[in-house]
Subunit: 336 residues, 2 copies
């Protein structure tokens, strides 16, 4: 299985390491033999139709800051050019999310699908802005579009709701989908001011380079869009979400909530409306998790409410969700 990897940040590096360490197991258990034939980051690229050496790739990045250092004797190709010209079976999109135009991820994904590549995206931007049309494009080009890593990191929330609950109709769901804001709200509950909690979260490396993605609920809203489309069959995008971030939550609000045995959490919710906003929930509600944890509660017609809790992000967790998607694609292809 030939792979083009877009971006070589934390997730892509974790993926490369996992592919390297699990080579034998992935082949013997799942018949999966992934070969990265092309990869690019913001300052360079590497490619080889025989498959790049994974250890050497990590080395190049660690030593020189770019995969461009992998093999200086081979000419560098621009990322989009690589997708347009290199032959591959799957493209994995891991560049940073943005919710203005979702570029460059959007163009990467569209270009790859038009060239009949299956796509795995951990970049939420393109899905948040254009889920319905990207799904149509995938169908039209008869390719698979997978994105397990976009919601819940290593916790297979999308799969759980879609597959484990088959035979059930999910009526509504509510979730804490952003670990960073949950960390900040937890710290505020423990006595910090908003500013103190935010700078603590920044020191720990939890906050996105563009802090608005976390604080204004954009990240949570993007995940809500993906869940609403995938699980509920809605055809919605970012502008359909009623969104309020956590910037206006203050210590008094949190104290008042505590007096009623409640906590303030940034809840993404799907029932009649799609909303992301800081609301009070009972402290003994299973959904009410603390720190950087994520949680989501599905209410189904006949099986009551079920809550899944897990770490939201992390390079290895997200990388392992990409491997699940690869296994899936391998399985689907082999059916044809």
């Amino acid at each position: 299985m030939r792979i083009i990897l877009c971006g070589f940040g934390v997730v892509a590096q974790s993926l490369t390491k996992l592919l390297e360490s699990r080579t034998n197991e992935l082949y013997s258990k799942y018949g999966l033999k992934p070969r990265i034939v092309g990869v690019f980051d913001s300052s360079g690229s590497a490619h080889s139709s025989a498959g790049l050496n994974l250890k050497k790739l990590i080395d190049a990045k660690e030593k020189s800051g770019s995969v461009g250092a992998y093999d200086k004797s081979v000419s560098q190709i621009d990322g989009l050019e690589m997708i347009k010209t290199l032959d591959a079976d799957v493209m994995i999109e891991t560049t940073a999310s943005n919710y203005k135009d979702a570029e460059p991820g959007m163009t990467h994904i569209i270009t790859a699908m038009k060239r009949s590549m299956h796509v795995i995206s951990v970049n939420k931007g393109p899905l948040a802005l254009a889920f319905p049309s990207l799904m149509e494009l995938a169908e039209f080009n008869r390719v698979l579009l997978r994105f397990s890593g976009t919601v819940g990191g290593g916790t297979p929330i999308l799969d759980y709701a879609k597959n484990s609950l088959r035979g059930e109709k999910i009526i509504s769901f509510q979730g804490i989908l952003n670990g960073t804001t949950n960390y900040i709200l937890t710290k505020m509950e423990n006595g910090m001011s908003f500013d103190e909690a935010l700078s603590d979260a920044k020191n720990k490396g939890y906050v996105e380079a563009d802090e608005s993605l976390d604080l204004d609920g954009l990240d949570a809203a993007a995940k809500l869009v993906i869940l609403a489309n995938w699980i509920m069959g809605m055809k919605v995008t970012m502008p359909d979400i009623l969104r309020t971030g956590i910037r206006d939550v203050n210590t008094t609000d949190i104290k008042n909530a505590e007096r009623n045995s409640n906590s303030i959490k940034l809840i993404a919710s799907c029932d009649e409306n799609l909303t992301v906003s800081p609301i009070e929930i009972k402290s003994d509600n299973p959904l009410c998790v603390n720190g950087t944890l994520n949680a989501i509660a599905f209410t189904s017609e006949h099986s009551g409410t079920q809550t899944i809790i897990g770490r939201g992000a992390g390079g290895t967790e997200t990388a392992s969700s990409i491997i699940r998607d690869l296994i899936d694609i391998r399985k689907e292809i082999s059916k044809i």
Copy 2:
């Protein structure tokens, strides 16, 4: 799909009602057209190769206390005789669990498999005492043995661990698998004595007719056996579980735990050992749920720890898990 239903208690009645109300949906969405061709309870039976009328079956049970009243003109057949003589595709075993010899469920299941019927069991007894050999027998007879309803009720815990986490190795798990003891321990935390909490739970109908199944951890141990076999690939049965119930937990223990921000919970755990015992866990651990809730935390190699929380039991929830099993079996059969 012709079904023999063993037992007609709460779960079987809920199943019958669900099958009745969801007839059209099950057919249009899953191609599933279930026909109950035989059913028996402790005092009578009913059968019809064309399929019994589901409404009339519920009526008979509600009015006369037994399905034997369904059609007095047809001669009654003993349960085991029915399994031996009636033709069916699937047998659903819903009689009460016992952990001495697991009868009559054990003989029902073995007889059905030998007659090439697929089996769905919500009766934990046979699985707890003989999981490995029942799986072998199923394989030998080329039938499917499913049991989603035995652990987690409507919460698809078994499926989650087996399918949603594919590509992942689960290293260990811990769970609160019995809602009744969790209810009692929660009430004790709120100030009741053990005896008060037990009688409160009895009044609410939470306690099994044989209270030892709950209080001595037998029910939790049975579920642990099923999980260990199905998810971890172990070949274990009831005697392999180190088991301590909650009878010796007193209010002082609970107060002491609380002082360390801990709660005492009956935890079923699978790591180097298989144990069920009341232990202290941190109150802010996602696993630490209250009331009749169940929770299970899986720790996997690359995706961290993930916790699923849901209502443990309930007729409708368990019945809806049987429907999931039926859909599964339908799907597997159609592959052949």
